[in-house]
Symmetry: C2
Subunit: 410 residues, 2 copies
């Protein structure tokens, strides 16, 4: 059995690096706090009998040998990086549950069949370096290592430079072929309200919805706000505002809405940032989601149509570039069944599809993968108010232990 | 008579400091290029027989004595600072026309009745340091010198620090009382399409419309874009987008629109700038205008009502603070008559109300003031494509000379 108190205490302890005064976290990938929590993580897994490797994307694999060390390890992983206004659970809980499983197995002196790996994946959030799930994406062959290294932050630093700077640009190739895993389990907070509404502490995750991200660049014409008549303008910010409203309308209109469509513009920047000069340039990012790949196509089509009409009305031009696409994912039936059986034994589960992308989405393309969700208060995430009760965190850890041991036995 | 070629050549010469590759200007108030053009301006007026004073706001007064030097000087002024994506005429033409008048009078060895002042006002644009017309505003007692010095740029520097840094924090008090003028004439490009449509090179400006600027801060709730259902969001950027659309609707709806209302949001900034975190905070600036003070009140009221409804729909809060207000202005009848007579003699004028604010708006509160507009191609301003034909620039300079001499005689 996992130790609920130890799990929760260690989780809070690990949040000392990157915590914010409002109780949240700001541990962006590759920043100084990311370095500190990685150093702590490495020291901790070493204490519990692991060797470790750092790969070319900074992913850390802590390995505990099993009976059959010719097999790749079964991995329990998630991420220690956070959003700029993030909480103390997103990703962190997953790594800490994995660590708790390691501690239990180590203390009980169990020799598992396959080796065990505890994995911290780099830059899952995609907040500082887009796209999200970058470390696991490179590992799974979705992106090249060069692509991963070249991702650039708004400050102008690259992922590769920052990994080098914090001492986590490792020599192990970042590749599912050169550094294989046998399977991947991940605990994560739900980040949505389904378990909270259903009053279930734990979710058995059957898959994840499709995601697409775009870069949008709107061009209008700078002009004086005071002397330019309203009907002689080409206002890039007005056009952008109508696009934001349009995306919302598309995602909230049936039948797409009833099938779970989501559409959001959360990042905007305008120029030339002068109160009395009509904005001539606006850049934004669009995030669309759906459990169904065909609905993603439909949302994209409707957005393009809507944006075109807005552009015609305002004489603005638009560049629209897809910068990330992640199709709908189904996790591995046997792995999901291990999670289900483990959850049943503590009688608290609910079957669920993930609204967020996770490292498990990429690992699932190459190795059997499944996820366990912990309930998250009011469904709030990517917010300092993000909270999962200690008993829910503990339940997720317990389900992880059971699912992992079942799969290892299998 | 003014020298058209010299005026235009000198204008283009003075644009070497702060010019941009696209043919426009980026000479923000208090930056290095502002320092260079000021140094050149001081050298130039010295060559043409002027002494000069720099006041506590960096306004430069170049003085040429007259017959009666107990009188304050009649000023010909405008500004040498520009927008970040500005043109080569806005403000610059006014100072250069004044310089051309000085050259003509100096070379013709005329002794005017009152002394003559050529004035470069500081930070007319309000682009780097809000509000606009700051140097003339402090001079006219609208703002205190402390207020003027404390204005802060987005880089965090203050107006006072930057004046000190470039060597233009002068010792003359910035005050219409301590450093008086007898009157103020200003040439400026129209920055709108009226003269271009009327096919008149020069406008006799009778007044300027009312302006208000606001700071808006919208607060929502950060949440995950993928896992947060569309109906459980408090999206600050979606609310802000609807506010941008609302302002446009108010300004383009009769009867306000037919009376010349204008409303623009041109500056927006959102946080936390992460593609998959719904924006929790948005700040914007609102600029509203009308020739009628009562319409400004009405626009403000309608904006507040509209914003409130949007806030209720999205669960967002709003701070709305008026940061600048400039009532509708009527210029001095006798001064306007001097401009009219001078313009008539070259048979090219059109009576006009200014859509933009100008330093003359503030000087007019304390001393007789009038303005002359030069036609501006397609009405485009605050844009690198801003253009006034050399002959239109020359016509404005010629009208300035005639108006000034008429008033001096009077
Ligand atoms: N869990 C999480 O926030 N992942 C980031 C990728 C996404 O935006 O869904
Ligand atoms: N002329 C000019 O651009 N003035 C700035 C003040 C305003 O925004 O009207």
């Amino acid at each position: 059995k996992t130790n609920a108190k130890r799990l929760n205490d260690t989780l809070q302890y690990s949040c000392q690096w990157g915590s914010t005064p409002d109780g949240g976290m700001n541990r962006l990938s590759g920043n100084d706090d990311d370095q500190k929590v990685r150093d702590w993580f490495v020291a901790e897994v070493t204490r519990y009998g692991c060797s470790h490797q750092v790969d070319a994307m900074g992913n850390i694999f802590a390995i505990r040998p099993g009976q059959n060390n010719t097999l790749p390890p079964i991995a329990l992983g998630s991420h220690l990086d956070t959003q700029p206004t993030g909480g103390r659970y997103d990703g962190i809980l997953g790594v800490l549950c994995a660590l708790e499983v390691l501690r239990v197995i180590h203390e009980a002196n169990i020799t598992t069949y396959a080796p065990l790996a505890i994995v911290n994946w780099t830059n899952e959030e995609g907040a500082r370096f887009s796209p999200a799930m970058l470390g696991s994406g490179v590992w799974a062959g979705e992106f090249s290592t060069e692509y991963g290294h070249s991702r650039v932050s708004s400050e102008g630093t690259t992922m590769g430079q920052e990994l080098q700077r914090i001492g986590y640009l490792g020599s192990t190739p970042c590749s599912y072929q050169a550094n294989p895993l046998l399977a991947h389990f991940e605990v994560h907070i739900e980040q949505g309200p389904i378990l909270d509404v259903a009053e279930k502490p734990v979710g058995v995750v059957k898959g994840a919805q499709a995601i697409r991200w775009y870069r949008l660049a709107v061009r209008g014409r700078e002009a004086h706000t005071g002397s330019t008549p309203m009907d002689r303008r080409s206002d890039a910010l007005l056009a952008a505002a109508k696009m934001i409203v349009e995306v919302n309308k598309i995602a909230t209109t049936a039948p797409l809405s009833t099938r779970g469509a989501r559409g959001t513009i959360a990042v905007i920047n305008s120029g030339p940032q002068s109160i009395n000069t009509i904005a001539g340039q606006v850049t934004m990012n669009l995030d669309i989601r759906s459990p169904f790949d065909q609905d993603i196509e439909e949302i994209e089509k409707l957005c393009k149509q809507g944006f075109e009409a807005i552009g015609e009305e305002h004489g603005t031009s638009l560049e629209m570039e897809c910068i990330w696409t992640s199709p709908a994912t189904n996790f591995h039936p046997l792995m999901v069944e291990c999670v289900r059986q483990s959850a049943k034994s503590i009688d608290c589960h609910h079957e669920i599809i993930s609204g967020a992308g996770h490292d498990s989405v990429y690992t699932s393309r190459k190795v059997p993968t499944a996820m366990i969700f912990a309930r998250c208060r009011d469904g709030i995430s990517h917010n300092p108010a993000e909270y999962s009760r200690p008993e829910d965190c503990a339940a997720a850890g317990e389900v992880l232990l059971g699912a992992y041991l079942r799969y290892d036995e299998h």
